[in-house]
């Protein structure tokens, strides 16, 4: 059992693809209610690390612990059920469903999702009612009340990103992995997104691990930053420490 104030711990994780060492002995800790940034140049292994944590890849070496449980080796759906929610760089919403439906798909173990019960409306209608109410409240709370019945294709990029993040809230989300939440949105929108992240941390007590390229936005919101370079941890520390670290500047700007 690891320390109770740590939500996610990645221990010496390595992932090799043939001869390529995409990750090589990376260790990361995310404390409870922490907002932790993960930065690094392209191809430094950030998304690979996310894929290892969420069960898309089996790590070649190392362990992943979440809330005191070992989760490497679980399938992606099982990782989600533990309370670890992931978003994608290019948001993956269900494009033919409405916003509300996208949120409603999320809750696990719905009675109506069992094939034997689904034709019997009375079995699941109560649960569905409470879920709909929860989802509508959630969307209203974050200013998306006008879009409840819109299709995903009618939304702006920023709203799509918000919904991808928010839909995890209807369930037992405990921690988020966000992959470039600010990519492809205007500066002010990016700040709004990060303000929302902070709000979620304060109101819901969630922890965050965030990949982001837009440092000028990220650095104002995170508590702690890890820098990956060529699959290895290059530096870590508070935003100020990392920004002034000559090794980081070199990695970003080239020698």
């Amino acid at each position: 059992m690891i320390g109770t104030n740590i939500t996610l711990e990645v221990k010496e994780v390595a992932k090799y693809f043939g001869g390529v060492r995409a990750l090589d002995g990376v260790s990361i800790k995310v404390p409870n209610k922490g907002i932790v940034g993960l930065i690094g140049p392209n191809g430094s292994g950030k998304t690979t690390l996310f894929n290892v944590i969420t069960g898309f890849y089996l790590p070649t070496k190392g362990e992943v612990w979440f809330k005191g449980e070992r989760i490497d080796g679980l399938n992606p759906n099982e990782v989600f059920l533990k309370g670890l929610v992931r978003t994608f760089q290019i948001p993956r919403l269900f494009k033919s469903l409405t916003v509300l439906e996208n949120v409603l798909v999320t809750p696990p173990r719905q009675i109506g999702e069992k094939v034997l019960y689904s034709p019997i409306t009375s079995k699941w209608v109560n649960q569905e009612e409470s879920l709909v109410e929860k989802a509508v409240n959630l969307l209203h709370r974050f200013g998306l009340g006008n879009f409840i019945h819109s299709r995903i294709s009618e939304l702006s990029a920023a709203h799509i990103k918000m919904i991808e993040t928010l839909r995890g809230l209807i369930t037992n989300a405990y921690m988020y992995l966000l992959d470039e939440p600010a990519a492809g949105v205007a500066y002010n929108t990016a700040r709004e997104l990060f303000t929302m992240v902070k709000r979620l941390r304060d109101e819901e007590g969630l922890a965050f691990l965030i990949i982001e390229h837009r440092l000028e936005v990220l650095m104002d919101f995170v508590d702690y930053v890890y820098v990956l370079h060529n699959g290895k941890l290059l530096a870590e520390g508070t935003p100020r420490e990392v920004m002034n670290n000559p090794k980081v500047i070199q990695a970003y700007l080239g020698g």
């Binding site: 693809f17 998304t47 894929n51 069960g55 898309f56 890849y57 089996l58 399938n75 992606p76 994608f88 760089q89 290019i90 993956r92």
Partner: protein
């Protein structure tokens, strides 16, 4: 006993399969479309030869082959211009395009039936099931063994086609551009290759070559509008064995399947009494097994297949 005739038969069928399967691989590589009208190229090629022979009295098999090439090529280009190109431009899913191509296959198949129906009534020949013999077929003698005229023709024609294709792909700029588009379509465009034009050329060659394959088939075998359907899963199986990627492997696959169908089945028949009518069974079984055990490049689904094999990794959703 497995004799020389069976070996010759295997080579013979292997060559025909090669000529039909290589274009399929070529078109899949360049466009990603699984092209069902490939079936029609075979049938239309065969019937071009038959109609020329029976109606216009063309007895030279090479003139017939030229005509078949043109017919197959033109149909192929029409398909591309009218269906594939607009759908690709709209970024339609490839599997939806595949279904549209399936519609085209059915359309062309019964269009041929209708035309043959009419012609049969006019000329009072049963075109729906027809066996023809070109009178001017070359023959060879190899080491005292006389090769049948059909075999010799197949040999010459496939040599011309395969060598021609080789020259086209390796020695001409347009041919190399096809390779470039299959390799890296985006880079091909920014290098200044007019993609649409080159793809049209590719479709023309694909349609034409397959059509001549169909002609090669009817030189020794009965023609019906169904021959394409009989052959297509075999051709798919061969292309999949080639990983839908390598033309050489495709040719190898053609001979493996031809051998399995001819020599392998003969062996099974003699040893276990398996009826020879199980012939197509073998190719479908091969197709199933190859797809399941060794899926070709680009055939993978979207899930991380750790559900099925513990070590296979996910293709990565990044970029």
């Amino acid at each position: 006993m497995i004799g020389g005739a069976d070996i010759i038969n295997t080579i013979y069928i292997g060559l025909v399969y090669t000529v039909m399967a290589i274009p399929l691989t070529l078109s899949y590589k360049a466009t990603g479309i699984i092209n069902f009208p490939h079936i029609n190229f075979i049938t239309y090629g065969a019937y071009t030869a038959i109609l020329l022979h029976d109606i216009l009295g063309v007895n030279n098999v090479f003139i017939a082959a030229l005509a078949a090439f043109l017919v197959g090529g033109v149909i192929s280009v029409i398909n591309n211009l009218s269906v594939f190109q607009p759908m690709l431009r709209r970024k339609t899913n490839l599997w939806i395009i595949m279904i549209a191509s399936m519609g085209l296959w059915i359309f062309y198949k019964y269009l041929l039936y209708s035309v043959l129906d009419v012609l049969s009534k006019i000329y009072r020949i049963n075109f729906i099931s027809r066996l023809i013999r070109f009178s001017t077929l070359p023959t060879f003698q190899v080491g005292g063994l006389e090769l049948s005229s059909a075999f010799s023709t197949t040999l010459i024609m496939s040599a011309i086609l395969l060598f021609g294709l080789y020259l086209f792909l390796e020695r001409t700029t347009a041919g190399k551009a096809i390779g470039a588009i299959s390799d890296n379509p985006v880079l091909a465009e920014i290098s200044g290759i007019p993609k649409d034009k080159v793809i049209n050329i590719m479709w023309f060659v694909v349609g034409g070559m397959t059509a001549v394959g169909g002609l090669m088939w009817v030189i020794f075998s009965i023609a019906t509008p169904e021959i394409g359907d009989w052959l297509i899963l075999v051709i798919f199986a061969i292309a999949v064995i080639g990983g839908l990627h390598s033309l050489t492997l495709t040719a190898l696959g053609a001979f493996i399947i031809a051998a399995a169908e001819n020599i392998g089945l003969l062996y099974l028949n003699q040893a276990f009494g398996v009826p020879t009518s199980y012939k197509p069974f073998i190719s479908f079984l091969t197709l199933l097994i190859v797809i399941i055990v060794w899926p070709p490049k680009g055939a993978g689904g979207g899930l991380p297949y750790r559900f099925l094999t513990k070590r296979k990794s996910f293709r990565g959703e990044n970029k």
